[in-house]
């Protein structure tokens, strides 16, 4: 029926659609599509000088240089950590929290509101607060540890790390931990609400039927809740992985412009976007902007490929009604 209706006068529909889309498309073209194309072109310019716009021909050299760069590999690893460790962890925590919230009545709205607060907090303010929380001397975390007679932990410390691989690893793990905690805190908010509403939209009849059959709680979760929740899970996973791949502000707010503790010369906590910004910072050197553009394009490719992969796998395990 519907298809027939549409086929009768498609041309009429077309015109209206373009009118509706026009403002959005114009702005997207100017502020998104054009910059991306421009980035692609800049990325292959050789010795591009920002001030004069002069360059010496085209080359893929910047891409090769980046892929060989140790700092870029580090950036990829850290970004992967946020995307594939922090994001899933916060997803699981959010799911657990939502399940708990769904099992209670009192305070549910209140707690949901409370969990959402990090989402409406200014990123820079939140980063400042976290840096202070983990401050070795003035921080809350070490204060709490001191109640249990634990010595202050130098959370963000680079002492000796350039001379000892062991100390480096330990310092790195502490920094990853801080990033993990921050991501958990920041990411929980939106996901809890999405999962909670997903849970509430599950038809109660399924549960009642299961209870009559005497199915165990765990099996109810496994056989009914998780499959019915899978579209929401998929949505949350994709959006949070994309957000994670773009992470930058949090790292700078936590670890500073040098992306690591003082004494570290390896940009320990740099992310891919951080790598782009770092190259941009050097804009007066010939070629720097092209390098940044190339890195930006590599990131874009990574994001598109990962999203495609997630969509592909989602077809296999997401349960649509």
């Amino acid at each position: 029926m519907a298809a027939m209706k549409r086929d009768r006068n498609p041309i009429h529909y077309d015109r209206a659609a373009y009118f509706y889309l026009l403002p959005a498309l114009v702005l997207l073209a100017v502020f998104t599509v054009y910059p991306v194309i421009n980035t692609l072109i800049t990325s292959v310019k050789l010795d591009y000088r920002f001030l004069t716009g002069a360059f010496k021909g085209f080359s893929a050299g910047h891409y090769l240089e980046i892929l060989r760069d140790k700092t870029f590999q580090r950036a990829c690893f850290n970004t992967a950590f946020v995307a594939f460790v922090c994001a899933p962890a916060s997803l699981i925590t959010a799911l657990a929290t939502a399940l708990l919230l769904n099992s209670i009545k009192k305070f549910r709205n209140f707690l949901t509101t409370l969990y959402y607060l990090p989402q409406v907090t200014n990123i820079i303010a939140a980063g400042m607060v976290f840096a202070l929380l983990f401050n070795t001397n003035f921080g809350f975390i070490n204060l709490v540890l001191s109640w249990f007679d634990i010595d202050p932990v130098p959370w963000i410390s680079g002492v000796g790390i350039a001379g000892s691989a062991d100390l480096y690893t330990r310092s790195y793990i502490r920094c990853l931990f801080i990033l993990f905690v921050y991501s958990l805190w920041q990411g929980l908010s939106l996901k809890v609400i999405l999962f909670l509403s997903g849970l509430q939209s599950i038809n109660l009849q399924y549960y009642q039927a299961a209870q009559i059959d005497g199915t165990s709680q765990w099996n109810i979760l496994r056989k009914i809740t998780f499959p019915l929740l899978s579209p929401v899970t998929m949505y949350v996973l994709i959006t949070s992985v994309i957000t994670a791949l773009k992470s930058y502000a949090s790292v700078v707010a936590l670890f500073g412009d040098a992306y690591g503790p003082i004494g570290d010369n390896s940009k320990m906590m740099i992310t891919i976007v951080g790598y782009i910004i770092d190259s941009l910072d050097d804009y007066l050197s010939p070629g720097a902007i092209s390098k940044a553009s190339a890195a930006a394009f590599i990131l874009l490719l990574i994001i598109v490929i990962l999203t495609a992969v997630q969509f592909y796998f989602s077809k296999k395990w997401v349960h649509y009604k």
């Binding site: 509706y20 959005a24 099992s103 990123i123 202070l132 930058y248 976007v273």
Partner: protein, 275 residues
């Protein structure tokens, strides 16, 4: 028999999570109320010995924070207004209308969702500069007026409105615009409010762009004021003032959120359902 125990454990776990979420806010507010000496005391004090509300006054006096607030308010008001109109129209077209190139254009929107803003910033600066729009509110507002994610979110919501309703409306002779106005908008209201809040958060958090396109103090936005504030010229951080400023910046959005909470929650969930 087991029920009360399970319930207690549930509540306990939820309360623990709530405490975790609140700790940063607690530490922010606590430090904001400490004196300079107390903020630098080792080991730190859990609660301020004396509550120094002066810190807030000091922050407002030493930094033109109020000016930044006002600017942020002006910019977010315009962005919310314009971008909502643009988003609603575009989302409606993607959700309900058929036209050539729809898949392609929607793919463009999806890719735009994934792009980090940082990639675009240099080219966009040149565009704004060529338009001679530096140091204008236009430069602060226009690039934020299209938000691919909001288009995506709203399209998801609109798709959930039964198609039969649309067909019936067309048969009744309702134009697309009337249908959008009379039927779609009321149903999509929570999601629209959500996109509004998301736009507002976006403006509230934005840092790099306004810093680049404004060179005059009286056009700066709130994040710019916060980032470099209260670090002395030699780099010593005045923690108590920094935290007082962070508190002041955080409160308005929390207020807006708490007021609109009901709509926002249902808006987020509607947009998020169905892949």
């Amino acid at each position: 028999m087991k029920k009360p125990l399970v319930k207690t454990v549930n509540y306990f776990l939820l309360a623990a999570a709530a405490v975790m979420v609140l700790i940063p806010f607690f530490w922010m507010l606590g430090t904001a109320l400490k004196s300079e000496a107390e903020a630098l005391h080792i080991p730190p004090t859990l609660l301020p010995k004396t509550y120094r509300f002066d810190n807030f006054a000091k922050v407002i006096q030493t930094e033109p924070l109020m000016r930044y607030f006002l600017n942020t308010l002006i910019v977010s008001a315009f962005v919310v207004l314009i971008s909502t109109m643009i988003t609603v129209l575009a989302a409606y077209a993607f959700a309900r209308l058929e036209f050539k190139g729809k898949d392609f254009l929607f793919a463009v929107v999806l890719i735009a969702v994934m792009l980090p803003q940082e990639i675009m910033i240099i080219t966009n600066f040149m565009t704004i500069a060529k338009l001679k729009w530096l140091n204008t509110f236009r430069a602060l507002i226009l690039p934020y007026c299209v938000n691919a994610f909001n288009i995506f979110l709203l399209r998801q919501t609109m798709k959930q409105i039964p198609e039969d309703l649309y067909i019936a409306a067309r048969i009744d002779g309702l134009t697309n615009f009337k249908y959008l106005w009379k039927v779609v908008l009321p149903v999509a209201k929570p999601t629209i409010l959500t996109t509004m809040l998301l736009s507002m958060i976006w403006i509230w958090d934005t840092y790099a762009w306004p810093n680049l396109v404004t060179t005059q103090d009286n056009l700066r936005l709130i994040s710019n004021g916060l980032k470099n504030a209260f670090t002395t010229s030699t780099g010593n951080i005045q923690y108590e003032l920094q935290m007082a400023a962070a508190t002041l910046v955080t409160i308005p959005l929390i207020l807006v959120f708490v007021l609109l909470r009901k709509y926002i929650f249902s808006g987020i969930t509607r947009g998020g359902m169905k892949g």
